[in-house]
């Protein structure tokens, strides 16, 4: 599963809606039900399940889904480099 699919899956679970499709320019307002609580829960799962820290207000600073995705991917690959 790619990072993109994983994030989309998390959001689908958080909204209990399997039809949610996320593109790079998707913003929370585009997706029914994606409110600030869902956003916080998404942050929790990204930190817990992917091990990617989102310090401070970070989760609210991404302009769109693409930015969030790139942040997570960059963080994961940086960590992989660190480990090797």
């Amino acid at each position: 599963m790619t990072v993109e699919q994983r994030l989309q899956q998390m959001l689908r679970e958080l909204l209990d809606d399997d039809t949610v499709e996320l593109g790079d320019d998707t913003v929370a307002q585009d997706v029914p039900g994606w409110d600030s609580y869902v956003h916080i829960n998404l942050m929790y799962r990204i930190e817990q399940e992917l091990g990617v820290p989102l310090p401070g207000n970070k989760i609210f600073e991404f302009k769109n889904f693409g930015e969030l995705k790139r942040y997570v991917i960059e963080h994961l690959s940086a960590r992989r480099t660190e480990l090797s």
């Binding site: 679970e13 909204l15 209990d16 609580y37 829960n41 929790y44 817990q48």
Partner: protein
Amino acid sequence: MSEPTKSEGEISCKELSAEEAVQFADRLVEKGEVGQAIECYLSVADRYELPPADICLRLARCYMRLDDPAAALDWATRVVDAGQDYGVWQAAALIATKAARRLGSAHFRQARKLAVLSSFTTESWVPLLQLAALRLGILLDVYQCAYGQYRQEVLNPESSLYKFAPEMVLIAVDTRDLGIPDFVQDSVAVVDQEVERWGGYWQRILEELSATILQFTFVVPETAPFGHFGAKLQGSRQRVIQAPNLRLGELAGPKVALIDCERLASLVGKLRWYSPRYWHLAKMAVSPEAQPLLARHTAAVIAAQLGLSRKCLVLDLDNTLWGGVIGEDGLSGIRLGQGPEGEAFVEFQEYLRSLKERGILLAVCSKNNEADAREPFEKHPEMRLRLSDFVMFVANWKPKAENLREIARELNIGLDSLVFVDDSPAERRAVRKLLPEVDVVPLPEDPCFYVRALSDYLLFEPVSFTQEDSRRTELYRARAQLSAARRGVESLEEFYASLRMKATIGPFDDFHLPRVAQLVGKTNQFNLTTRRHSLAQLEAFARDPNCVHFYVRLQDCFADHGLVGVMIAFAKDGVLDIDTWLMSCRVIGRTVEATMLAELCRCAVERGCHTITGTYIPTSKNGIVRDIYAQFGFELISETQGTTRWRYDLAGRGPIENRFIEVEHVFGAGNDSRAASTANAA
């Protein structure tokens, strides 16, 4: 991995590893083959005693897609037993609440309206509470007050809170609401003021609503500005905050329950209980990772308030109360008392005894020869539990599910009052499958952790504690006929009196005849003549003017036992002869027999009979009543092949009496019902 296309119906998920099978099923779901995916997930779930949360979640989702909300709810709520992961709980909560709405309130043991008054955001926690409640069969319709609005809601009689008219009000507050600074000069006045304020809210709510209040206790924060010095500094925040909890505990009457967040925070560790990040980002006073725990505990307190706490703990013996197998290792071979394992079993027994003192009934259900099973209780010096600590002791080779049913029946409690503890995963699994109403505690392999496993089982939550609770075992044991260990005469009388028994006695009528016939047909133990009269014969007796016939119903402070006794006698020439006298075994040892003879004496006097006669016909089962006539002052008049004839001189000895059971006579209802049924027949 095979492609789902090729393998449909060919590949069995059972042959794949769990991980492969889940991936395989995930792809089936994507292709829309939901039914097959379910079979595959189920085959994975079946490999575990408690299926992992993500499998439960997948199954719940599939069943929702198949439009089966009952199954979806079942699997979503199993997430509660499968772990404490916040993310999975959130997802499961969404499915469970949707499924529950579809099913409607009739599907649940109880449906209740709950208002949550809070000073912090509860939006993400309330679904978890609903999930944990649904797991216990409770459907919660929840109203949440706006963030920080709890004062206005309570104080304004026109508020949405009162319009919602909840049956329960949860005051979910946080230590910040106490407004206690790092140091207070006059801590006594501050605490008084706070106790008065919260007590005042309770009073207002109880004046406006017929509701139960649940309130969180205040958590002493993880930071201590005065460090260790604060522990001895009068007025330090860490000291002052503990005071309102204690005082509110004293103030809380039966309509107020506390949810001890201070204890829960200590349990998980205060650094995990509270996360400053989630406070500042989202005003969550409890961190996401601790929210499932808080939800589970709150649901347990709600269940206790609704009377859904469990009553009886049913215990295995070998490797549960001691190490080893008594039947093979013998008395000196079992591990108990010495060594790390032996000490752990002693500690577990002590914990069980304290549960028993608190009013939880203990029963034994063991696969053993009875004599072997009893031996450690009678002879092992390190045993902490005695036979008298148990209301039932069942040791045989029957399936445990069967014995559990028997235990519930004998104690006259529901299967949903039982909790089963056994070290054997196979036994636990069998009980889970066969008796889903029974809760099963998953004991860990290491007996050192038995106490913890049991203390994490939350449905023994009491709502009150009285002297009665510590005596309950005795009361129930009497009910379960394990009467050998009765104490002196005086306490036995106390025991009878404490049951506040009431008998309802009436002649056979159409309403009661079917149950009378049932008892006549099946009662073996307390049955003097074991004459199996048919319903038609019984109806004929009821019409016979020379026949004295009555049934007895019994009620006590625990329960209505229903129709438990039957008497049939025939009057001839001043003598009343007992044809049939029987009693349901669940009320043996309750003095009902005396009440039945007293009633018979009354009938005899009414008919001008001066003597009562009776017969005892022995069978393999009715030895218990061999001497009953002698006990009540009947004289033996003849004996042939074990059958005895007895005579009671009513004129000389006076009527038999029983002061322990209050009697109410019913005459009208039966005749009415007969009249009604006759009318119908015509």
